[in-house]
């Protein structure tokens, strides 16, 4: 009896071990999860190599990478070259996404939000829609004297990090008081939290006179009206894939610094300001596995562009993917 059990156990361990060897395991950031998931599926179809990516959140991804529990990890927050060296990791960007200001104002569909208005709304300082900060830029619109309800993510998320990072770049006051965080105790008392993107989307849709930050893909899917946002050049840009691409092209991601940069609020008259790159970490001492990981991303950069676009993400521009490839070659992981 016991022999049978032992045999069965050994067999299952063996089988498990074998199949686990075939799979490339990844975990981390939830922001790019929808893209990575589709990429892994397409990659499996094309090559028969299985890649598993579990959406755990950036900080858990970083932890997993440090503990060497995964073959690669996703993070929205890039690690500094110093930290990378300390934990013997390499880093490169995965995909670029954008965050939009979705709102629900009956019969208004071309709202413009200035940088200071966005910060003030997030701080809970704008109480009513006919506040001067908002009306100043929307001369043609008749904004009602209704309470502003700010909708934010209830759960910790990369979306919140990238949004608050943008706020920190725009406003010094925001930077010193709140900073960029994955979850935040939002100030003011006219805000509600939605669970995940679904929660935020449905709250914006169901609450009249609400406004909130939400990633482009979910806003589009749910038919949420998105505001034009003032960029660094002072121009109002409507969220669109083209505007995101323009922004991504302006991003200064430097392979010498392990691409350590958050790309929010880039230069350029036609760049949409609230964009974010999300990153991949791989352990430096496992070049053999890393080569398989980079092969997957290489394939995805090339063949996953349409998938990324359909999900509201921006494929990395060629100039950047070439830089990444040289980075891989230099590190011997290509």
């Amino acid at each position: 009896m016991t022999k049978v059990i032992k045999l069965a156990l050994a067999a299952s361990v063996l089988a498990g071990g074998l199949s686990a060897n075939d799979v490339i395991k990844g975990s981390g950031a939830s922001f790019p999860y929808s893209v990575y998931q589709k990429w892994t599926k397409a990659y499996y179809k094309a090559t028969g190599i299985k890649v598993d990516y579990i959406s755990k959140g950036s900080s858990k991804g970083i932890k997993d990478a440090k503990a060497r529990q995964v073959d690669f990890a996703g993070t929205d927050k890039p690690l500094s070259p110093k930290t990378l060296k300390k934990f013997n990791l390499y880093q490169f960007p995965g995909v670029v996404g954008a965050i939009t200001m979705g709102y629900n104002l009956p019969s208004i569909s071309n709202l413009k939000l200035s940088r200071s208005a966005i910060v003030a709304i997030s701080e809970g300082k704008v109480k009513f829609w006919d506040d001067k900060l908002i009306t100043a830029e929307n001369a043609g619109l008749k904004l009602p004297h209704e309470k502003v309800t700010f909708v934010h993510r209830a759960d910790g998320s990369g979306t919140t990090f990238n949004y608050t990072y943008f706020l920190s770049k725009v406003s010094k006051e925001w930077r010193t008081t709140y900073g960029a965080k994955k979850s935040l105790n939002w100030p003011g008392n006219q805000h509600i939290g939605g669970n995940k993107n679904t929660g935020v989307a449905s709250l914006i849709k169901q609450t009249p006179y609400s406004v909130g930050y939400i990633d482009y893909a979910d806003a589009k899917k749910n038919g949420i009206v998105m505001a034009s946002v003032e960029n660094k050049a002072g121009k109002y840009i409507k969220p669109s894939l083209k505007a995101f691409q323009t922004a991504a092209a302006k991003a200064s991601l430097d392979p010498k610094k392990d691409f350590y940069a958050v790309i929010a609020d880039p230069k350029g008259a036609d760049s949409y300001p609230i964009v974010a790159a999300t990153f991949i970490l791989v352990p430096a001492e496992k070049p053999k596995m890393d080569k398989r990981v980079t092969a997957f991303f290489d394939w995805s950069y090339k063949n996953g562009q349409e998938i990324a676009k359909s999900l509201g993400f921006v494929p990395l521009p060629d100039s950047l993917t070439n830089k990444i490839k040289t980075y891989w070659e230099k590190k011997g992981i290509r």
Partner: protein
């Protein structure tokens, strides 16, 4: 064979105990940093995730100055993983989630209790056999609905109705409490009905024979007789309402502030844990474990309270 059987059943039984102690210990160990940091003050502190500057020595002051000025175009926020560069401490307090948990549970109870009693009396005393069977089945089905479905239903259909009727926000203490009420309703109704059914027919018939009306029989015979079971059902429902996570996460609003009105958004312990765990690290993670420990102790007390009531009943 006899021996193997004995050992097997013994080890199954002790496994439960081991698990319980194990869970408590891991919770406690994981919560230890937060307990050391905030102590019992955690229970009354309404701030959550708030950074305050630490009284720094000379070296860290210079650093903090550096960190607070925007240096250049591509400068990045300080990395929270670089522990040496931290010059602030984050304060965590559990008062808001604790109050949110208790209030949402009380609203649920206030909503569900009268309805559950009505259902139970109707099923046990008034309904014909077929209707009783049919409604009883519906109640059991209601209990079988997964909580996430209650959450989605509450968010998409119930929340707008609440906001239209009572004003205020769609996701709020009230919305969460009412949906929780619907969720605990079947448990309370079913247990209450069962304990009402245990009332001996002799007692009821004697009361009727003395000229008591149906209402008087329910009030003076059935309720006193099944009182213990009813209290037990309330406490069990309480235990479920306290720990409910998924449905409430969609409905309570997840805002760390004490509600001034019943239609204000707030947060409960399980929700705070569920929505923050994915991205928590360090002291924040430990504070979540501390909250979990508090919830564990709270439900433990309530369940054992219920157990004692049931035990008493057996002795009688």
């Amino acid at each position: 064979m006899e021996k193997i059987f004995q050992r097997l059943s013994f080890s199954s039984a002790s496994l439960v105990l081991l698990l319980l102690i194990g869970i408590f210990t891991t919770l406690f160990i994981a919560a230890k940093p937060a307990i050391n940091e905030f102590g019992i003050h955690f229970l009354v502190d309404p701030t959550w995730n708030k950074e305050v500057a630490v009284e720094a020595s000379d070296t860290t002051t210079s650093k903090s100055v550096k960190n607070n000025t925007i240096m250049d175009e591509n400068d990045i926020m300080l990395d929270e993983d670089d522990e040496d560069s931290l010059n602030t401490i984050t304060i965590y307090g559990g008062l808001v989630p604790i109050v949110g948990t208790i209030l949402s549970t009380l609203i649920a109870l206030a909503f569900a209790l009268p309805i559950a009693m009505g259902i139970a009396v109707f099923l046990a005393e008034m309904a014909s056999e077929t209707i009783s069977k049919f409604v009883g089945m519906a109640i059991e089905l209601l209990a079988a609905i997964p909580s996430i479905i209650f959450g989605m239903w509450g968010l998409y259909y119930f929340a707008p109705i609440i906001a239209d009727t009572f004003g205020g926000y769609q996701v709020s203490l009230l919305t969460a409490g009412l949906v929780l009420g619907v969720m605990i309703l079947p448990f309370m109704a079913a247990i209450t009905r069962d304990s009402m059914n245990t009332t001996p027919d002799v007692l009821k018939e004697s009361a009727y024979a003395l000229g008591a009306t149906k209402f008087e029989v329910v009030k003076d015979v059935i309720f006193p007789y099944s009182k213990v079971g009813i209290i037990g059902s309330i406490i069990l429902a309480l235990g479920r309402a306290l720990g409910e996570t998924m449905a409430v996460a969609f409905l309570i609003g997840a805002v760390y502030s004490l509600p001034e009105k019943i239609t204000d958004p707030t947060i409960s312990i399980p929700v705070a844990m569920a929505v923050n765990f994915g991205e928590a690290s360090g002291l924040g993670e430990s504070a979540l474990f501390y909250l979990g420990l508090i919830l564990f102790v709270m439900s433990f007390i309530i369940i054992s309270f219920a157990k004692f009531y049931f035990l008493k009943k057996v002795k009688l």
